[in-house]
Symmetry: D2
Subunit: 334 residues, 4 copies
């Protein structure tokens, strides 16, 4: 009964079926008939013309997006707890050729306009400092909070006013959309977002993420950067097929809702006192003494300690309902 | 009836079955039980202790290998027609942070000690020029020739004498081994090879290649570089499972033999006069007038023109025997 | 009467004389008879065998040192107010190819073992985070404090224990040595320092800094990196001559003492209450209301505001004694 | 009697005087009154509005220019014998973050439209190859030939037609202008040049080169890149002063003429048979047997062997007329 990461989840049946179905000879790289549908399918989903490229990891999607939006001598505003800062071993620095990350504050890994303003205000407008070029937020955040369309728009307006591009690390974008019940458009281009790393791997995919550019942005440079980074798979059709299978019939939303619902059940069981943060997507941060954590583990539940007296639980599209119920009961019984 | 690239081939049944079998919850990244077997399994295969890392593309494998072996201020000796020079959009330069490629000559994209010596001799031993640090060869070459163990050893000795590391781009390493009937060891560490990009994708895999380091080389830096390049897949088990499935029962050799055999049949049909180069692996380069090429295409055969009056045919593990026979007949009838 | 930066100071007579004297035909780059003396002269100065390379700027010296000591996938521990973080437009990131800076705390831009330990402890020992490889301190600091030999040794020991290399940004190293009355050795290799950016430009030079490696470290890679960065001047003898002229007769110490003495006179005049920090080298940070600052400026004194109600004064080797006396009087009269 | 490099020459009196004159306190970096004149003075010289930045070396000027004009995933067309390929230890690759150099052919290191066309035609227009973005020529070339305004214009037109930017490595631009008797404008923006590395160091300066951008190109990015590369000297006024002193009264032209005249005298003495190439600037390439070279050296003349039976002689602004006469006589007497 594993609740330590949605990365550990299995691949959903639609994706597996799509891989089997795609298993025939076709054109290499992204010249195949699956890859050729991405721009259109994502343009439909977002209700505007977009450029969409598959890649194998969220780190690659983020780093390619940042390389497109930030020059080597620029900087990227993000939260101190952002994945791009803490969990990508410097991929943004590698792909941007040495841009700096400026680290902001905010509860639950969430930035707000005031914290961004405060951070940008520390930068002298001279040649001795890298100038902020991008604002990058994660939705849902690394702590399972979501940015609403209004919150995103407020950051989008600030970004425009400050000459920043806006990037969303959407490793759990599906969970955010499912949680908010809004449209993908409202959380992206309508709110001023320039680029989205749209995650599929944590949400039932095998190895596919999609980098989406809005606003008519030319993805030409990114096609070269993707190839040059070794991310243009020779049999790209197997990536595209995963993604298309998750767009069909909104499997991506169905999976995200399942994960969110499981998390909500755990949150209810935990109760307000025990939660470190509201549960808005598929991550639960609990107050739990070492003894309590040990008791949960003794019942077969796997999860990460997140700090002294804190535990992180992550649900996934395939979290076993019985296991969720057991865990909910176990938490309630602590 | 497609003969334009082994990249276009399907995934072999064992790999597809392995993906289905691996489709359960496990540890993320490379902490799973499949990934954990790679070092041992490849050490067995090569008969020496190696470090083995999965990546998604041959370009990534090559570039990571070169980054390990060559400093930014060094240079890499390779053939003028090498994949790393012509088909990776500067991935070696990106990963090495700007090393230079020194381009050598030789028939069929093959280097020999004399051509390497000649090239290295052009470099002044001073700080104004990047100093050669790596020799990279492709086996089988981009033109379907193979380096024998003896030829590889001769280059390995030269490399040692000149202070160069030796890298093998083995996108079609399986085809070379199958063609030569030698052991993987004889074409690598026994011949002085430091690193091998061992290709699986062209040979029946879906998206897996393996980077192998010999000589007790510590792969620690490469683990960091892989992550930083966005190539540490969150569900890495699906890569490892592909590879293990192809090692089991020597599927990798069986597939390569099938491709080589198909190529041999075409070569025989073509006859010596029509062949631009000997056919030693799974690529055939033909003399074919525009009219002849058109005639083949009119019969439903797909392939690349390779220059004026030249055509490239590539067979794969799944080349349809009937299609091969038809093509053989069609070539013979030209 | 300018007190805003020692960068604005003139070139001292010995340096100017040396430039005139060096003005004859000689070998290019660093093959000349001045450059050829650097290793020996700095080895004498430090009482141990060192490698010493001239460069034109402190930023280049720092960035080259860090590129030698830190891999692209590593990180550099420094103070939040370090020059390498705030005033070099990402030069460390450029030269290291994307290493990260980890920012520590401490009064007056000074790190101590506890703050370094606290920072290093935040890093997970896994492949998802860049691992600390270097500790970089500035002596004298950006706020005019000095690290004593004991303090440096304590950091050196910590660095060794944690597998970090120790770099000193010595843009004002001369001021630190002059202030402490210790030997250059005590502040460097005897305290565990691996590399020193030894500043001459702020201290009476025109355009020369020296990068010194200790511990028998091979500077070969740095010679290539320097060339590749465009920092191997074709007439390098004019850089070497500046440096040698400042070593002769300890001009470097004489100049630093003059600057420190001027600062001390201003500090005394200011009195303890008005000083934000002790004055240990050639920088004075004052509490000064906008009105007070305006009054000083009205008397012809130039300096930087450093924050609300704060002013920075910097003395130099050539601070005019009369101007210093006037300023001292003016401060005392506030 | 040294004729091995103009890099070895002394600094001309006007430059030395300017350094002495500039030796007073002023604003740091490029905020001083000398640096502030560069844009205007070079705009006057070229008869159009330009951006002009000082740097310390030709390598830095070239690499910064190329980084401005070429993306990391692009390539730079240049001659096989270009300085940027052979003598900068990969600086273009470092500053551009890994662009490739495409090497063309032509007598005396000179490219012509046909050779450039031939080279560009080898590049496939797909994402697997870096796409040509810049054409870089050296005027005068590494072999002492000059491009006329007409020849430059022809390349400029080709560049525009092919979507390439045009860069001129003008380490010996003054020698080219002096040789041709044309205006600086005719060899640059009027011929379609986007950026010029304008050399002063080989021509009597101490350590100054100027990077000039034409066509209203915004140099903002280059200012950041220069700082980030450690090339923004803290006392930049001493660089600017060198340059201004050489613009005043056309010292740059006077010096170049002196060097060219000396070379012409040697060329006349050598006679057509002995010259490998026409002498159009300040470099002479001679046929000379080892015995002949030894005889010249025995008479006290220093120069480089350039290949079997070949010698390179370089004159400079300060080539001693008596030494030139002696060498001329010695060559004639061979």
């Amino acid at each position: 009964m594993r609740f330590f990461s949605d990365n550990a989840a299995a691949v959903c049946p639609e994706v597996m079926a799509a891989l089997v179905e795609a298993n025939s000879l076709d054109t290499a790289y992204d010249g195949d008939r699956w890859s050729g549908q991405l721009n259109n399918r994502f343009s439909e989903l977002f209700g505007t013309e977009v450029s969409a490229l598959w890649v194998s990891t969220g780190t690659a999607a983020n780093a390619l997006a940042l390389a497109e939006l930030c020059p080597p001598y620029g900087s990227i505003v993000c939260h101190r707890d952002a994945h791009i800062q803490n969990d990508e071993c410097g991929a943004p620095e590698f792909y941007t050729h040495g841009a700096k990350l400026l680290l902001g504050e905010g509860v639950g890994a969430k930035l707000d306009p005031a914290s961004v303003e405060a951070l940008v205000a520390t930068v002298r407008d001279d040649v001795h400092q890298t100038q902020p070029a991008v604002l990058s937020i994660t939705n849902a955040t690394e702590y399972g909070l979501v940015y609403t369309p209004e919150e995103t728009s407020a950051l989008g307006e600030l970004a425009r006013a400050r000459g920043l591009r806006l990037h969303v690390d959407g490793a759990r974008f599906a969970n955010a959309v499912a949680s908010l019940g809004c449209s993908p458009a409202e959380l992206t281009w309508k709110a001023g977002v320039d680029a989205l790393s749209f995650g599929f791997a944590k949400n039932g995919g095998m190895s596919a993420e999609v980098l989406v550019f809005f606003g008519g942005r030319d993805a030409r440079a990114t096609h070269f950067r993707r190839k040059r980074a070794g991310h243009l798979l020779s049999k790209g059709r197997y990536l595209a097929a995963q993604v298309l299978a998750m767009l069909d019939g909104d499997v991506w939303l169905r999976n995200a809702r399942a994960a969110n619902d499981a998390a909500a059940r755990l949150a209810t069981a935990a109760g307000r006192e025990r939660l470190l943060l509201p549960v808005e997507a598929n991550e639960i941060f609990l107050r739990a003494t070492p003894d309590e954590a040990a008791r949960l583990r003794a019942q077969g539940f796997d999860f990460y300690d997140w700090g002294p007296g804190e535990a992180r639980l992550v649900t996934a599209w395939d979290s076993d309902p019985a296991a969720v119920d057991s865990l909910a009961a176990a938490i309630a019984a602590l």
